[in-house]
Amino acid sequence: MNKILFFAHLRDAVGEESIMMDAKGKTIADLKQMVLETYKSVNLENVMTAINEEFASDEDIIHEGNEIAFIPPVSGG
């Protein structure tokens, strides 16, 4: 299983700070698709993704136990 963490307004759209999903062997792009199927109002188009607190691209493969975080860049200042 994998823990998926949502930051900032993504958390509000999902309604939870984190969810558990089995994403072993999938890419980040696949996982985004899986999340979107369940949580239709979440916008993951421009989010940054981390696997175990390390930057990940859409093509990176998820392993068993990996923790994934979705972090939306914000522009306020």
Binding site: L5, F7, A8, H9, R11, E17, N43, E45, N46, M48, A50, E53, E54, F55, A56, S57, A69, I71, P72, P73, V74, S75, G76, G77
Partner: protein
């Protein structure tokens, strides 16, 4: 006032040698809003040699909740933020050379301003300017520190040319603006936490303690008690157009910049003329009053009421049209008054 910096020189990673270095450095602050106020104050108190501040806006009531350099009086006077910041910072530390520009940080302006600068601090409210800062940083090999926040959520990243990935490596393109201060609001502690990270990195860079510089992207949510640190070295992209092998600095091409913008968090449109103007505000004020408009002003700007909207014009020709998000309506108003 040698005693003045004693608590900072007692901190061993700075010491007396570090204080001398801080004193010899020049920092460019892009923006004098929430992040700009706080970062500018810390660096001024720390005794930086020279601080250049650029901001296009003026102080409004809704700024006071989080923009620490300003007072109620600055709101009454509609003081430009750069001028208000300069005024307060001089009272805080007369040893620091403060230079303030009331202008938009366009790519051209940025290329002019970075000459001789040791560090750029991002205190803007939009990704267009940030990507231009990112390109300028790479072109002139000057470190910069990204910071941003909305609601209780904030983030920061330090970019050292030739060493870390750049913001374009990480974001790939200018992100579609998600939640802004317009929709999500902002609380002052979030601002201060971003500032804490930016200013700590700034001090490390100014004293040249490169080993201590943070190489991860931090983000946090103070209301939800989240804090995460993401390593980004893997994000460095040899094909990046800003920092890669065949770089073109795409965000320095002013053709890519919009000339009118809906401002973040505000029912306001900014209009920037293609070339810098030199408007005689006194004469313009006189003309508009004769036409029957209600006009108020100070040496930096005029404020004119037009039906439901209000136009604020600066002497370089730039204007803010408040009370609308409609670019066409805003341009109409601008052209009606300024031809």
């Amino acid at each position: 006032m040698d005693e003045r910096y004693s608590r900072q020189t007692l901190f061993s990673p700075i010491g007396k040698a570090g204080q001398e270095k801080i004193r010899s450095k020049h920092v460019l602050m892009i923006g004098a809003g929430a992040l700009g106020s706080g970062n500018a104050e810390i660096l001024t108190r720390a005794g930086v040699g020279k601080l250049t501040i650029v901001d296009r806006d003026y102080v409004e009531a809704s700024n006071l909740q989080r923009q620490q350099l300003y007072t109620e009086r600055d709101v009454e006077e509609k003081l430009p933020k750069a001028a208000g910041a300069e005024k307060r910072l001089r009272k805080i530390n007369s040893d620091v050379e403060i230079e303030a520009f009331i202008t938009d940080a366009t790519p051209e302006k940025l290329e002019e301003l970075v000459q001789g600068v040791d560090l750029i601090i991002d205190a803007t409210d939009n990704f267009e300017t940030r990507m231009a800062i990112n390109d300028v940083s790479q072109k002139y090999q000057i470190p910069w520190i990204y910071g941003a926040c909305v609601g209780s959520f904030g983030m920061s990243l330090t970019i050292i040319p030739g060493k870390t990935p750049c913001l374009n490596c990480i974001l790939k393109k200018i992100p579609i603006q998600g939640m802004t201060c317009d929709t999500g609001g902002i609380i002052a502690p979030t601002v201060q936490m971003v500032i804490s990270h930016q200013a700590a990195e700034a001090l490390k860079i100014l004293v040249e303690d490169w080993e201590a510089v943070r190489t991860s992207f931090i983000s946090f949510d103070l209301w939800r008690n989240q804090y995460t640190s993401m390593k980004v070295s893997k994000a460095k992209d040899a094909g990046c157009l800003s920092c890669g092998e065949n770089r073109t600095y795409p965000y320095l091409d002013s053709e890519n910049m919009t000339k009118s913008t809906v401002l973040c968090g505000r029912d306001t449109v900014q209009i920037r003329p293609p070339e810098r103007q030199n408007i005689q505000l006194n004469d313009l004020s006189q003309q508009l009053k004769e036409l029957g408009y209600k006009v108020k002003g100070n040496p930096y700007l005029l404020s004119v009421e037009i039906d439901e909207q209000r136009l604020v014009i600066f002497n370089d020709g730039r204007a803010l049209i408040h009370g609308t998000k409609d670019l066409t309506q805003a341009k109409t108003i601008y052209q009606r008054l300024l031809g």
